[in-house]
Symmetry: C2
């Protein structure tokens, strides 16, 4: 089927571009001896995770337990879950999962580590736990190498747990000093920091400059989006994901309305002006979104789009778009090759 | 099951509050002789649409064809689709739907009207079409009463179509003058404007002050959200939808991290500061979201939330939240009474 026959709005992935992105990232990681552990939150599709693993990834990263369950059920064997899992029900689910696949997690507090330990002991699991540290995002993570070392010692001591190393997001200039200081702090205890896991698509290309990092978790590189395009990280010809949309109204000479709104493009601005880049009309600006409508200012376009015309929009944030669509259309040379259900969509 | 046993984040609707919202709105519309046609984009759940119809709604409103298909398949009989439907495939789907349920649509251009006509003739359908006009939102809709009248005349003339009246969103002070001028313009043609359909939850309570409106399409009144709360339209005790979330990290004394991020609360700010209202910590501020993390500033809270604690968040925009969750938990007095799949979720 030709791509022009699918109803809009549709999320379409150019399979050639996506596969090139997967291979190039893997090649870079291989060249530098860094374990590649792509983050599947970008695509949420087991089939794409499998392509990443087949290309040489050491395993995958999931952000939520439900995502990990879905990926494991699809046969992905090695899953890192860099999230604080807590509460009896989720801990039981985590341990069930650890019986079926190789699972590692993170903790950034005693509370989380102790919960993991109790559940691991209850289930006869030997769980690998990394300490999450804050490299400057000011989100989760221990705040100092001293705290990191203290938590590492606790994890080392607690039954059912093995201390696996350190993890942060994103990789940046604070990574090496933090890790070195933590290692120094742990030296006298004889506790080894085997894995140092960094993350981010921007820093993926410079992962080899973080000398302490042994692993990297790139996410959005697989699809690309307007954020990486505008930041010069991924050029247009590597952006594999577009939202195909139809002009449904031209109420004034300068305004066009798309059938793609925040339910298709997401409200994520990522600090950018506007909500997406229209490939066919680079001068157009998607200046507002409602759920089912995209407002486009076409005043700067020499030729203006007409009602019924289709356009391809590179969204601001590809991961958010994946979470909106029930399915992703995989195309090659404008032919629909595959339609993948976004299996881990809504794994909140 | 007690609500405290469900895994977080979860979208929970207090059924008593929701049913009170449904009944109060219907009562108001009945008192004023206005047809109530609730917009199901807020909940996307056939069972709730049925409650609205059972309470006395004249029918429902859907924003997308796929939503309408799902609602019709669930037995909802009278559906208004105030959206420009175009393209052969969607027009065929629309006509199929019109064979199974009572369907009316809108158009705001010749292009859309002619497409509807061709498809209606092909399928032997007699389709009711309203003209959408722009009351000031600057989205879709014809721009002047003259344009409205001209399009009404075209619809009246085109085979397969019946002119149904006028539609706008939102209802405001421009509604009556626009409608009156259009009616005057159509007088000599003998074309009657039978239905004037207004919309919006804010204007729902003043729907009777728009003297020309015969019908109203309220949406978010069914759940309520922080937008209506902050604008004084729906007090806290009427907000039926909360996102139940767990504190998963307390990395600093002033920062708490929720397991609900933009995948649960949505990135919609609706012009508000922050991303939701935490009922248990009114002084707390959700100041940032990533997909799976909510950043909370708890510096102003006298007692601060602890790791593992659950909180209930009233989201900024209830419709966007419905579109993120695969299921909604219906509770009564903190007991889970029902779990509804969000059947029309992802009907982009």
């Amino acid at each position: 089927m030709d791509i022009s026959q699918i109803d809009t709005p549709a999320a379409v992935v150019d399979l050639n571009l996506m596969q090139a992105n997967i291979l190039q990232m893997q090649q870079y990681m291989d060249e530098h001896g860094i374990a590649n552990r792509p983050h599947i939150k970008t695509h949420k599709i087991p089939e794409i995770a499998r392509l990443q693993v087949e290309a040489g990834a050491a395993g995958i990263t999931c952000q939520k337990l439900t995502e990990a369950e879905i990926m494991a059920a699809a046969g992905i064997q090695d899953i890192f879950l860099p999230y604080n899992v807590l509460g009896e029900s989720k801990l039981d689910r985590l341990m069930d999962l650890a019986h079926r696949a190789t699972i590692s997690v993170t903790a950034d507090s005693d509370f989380v580590a102790r919960g993991l330990s109790s559940a691991a002991v209850r289930s006869g699991i030997d769980l690998l736990v990394l300490v999450e540290f804050d490299s400057g995002l000011n989100r989760c993570g221990v705040q100092s190498p001293q705290e990191a070392a203290e938590l590492a010692r606790l994890i080392h001591r607690l039954p059912g747990l093995r201390f696996g190393g350190l993890m942060t997001y994103p990789s940046n200039e604070n990574l090496d000093p933090f890790v070195r200081e933590t290692k120094k702090n742990l030296q006298t205890d004889g506790i080894q920091v085997l894995c140092v896991s960094g993350g981010g698509t921007q820093s993926a290309r410079e992962a080899h400059t973080y000398l302490e990092a042994t692993e990297h978790r790139p996410g959005s590189y697989v699809y690309g989006d307007r954020y990486w395009l505008e930041h010069g990280v991924m050029p247009l010809e590597t952006c594999a994901l577009t939202v195909v949309s139809t002009i449904v109204s031209r109420p004034t000479p300068d305004r066009a309305i798309l059938d793609a709104g925040s339910k298709s493009l997401s409200s994520d601005t990522m600090g950018l002006d506007g909500y997406g880049f229209i490939i066919e009309y680079p001068q157009a600006k998607i200046y507002n979104l409602n759920e089912e409508h995209g407002y486009v200012d076409v005043s700067a376009c020499i030729q203006k789009p007409e009602i019924g015309e289709r356009v391809r929009v590179i969204p601001n944030h590809c991961c958010a778009v994946s979470n909106l669509f029930n399915q992703i259309v995989g195309s090659r040379q404008d032919q629909v090759e595959v339609v993948w259900p976004v299996a881990a969509r809504g794994a909140v």
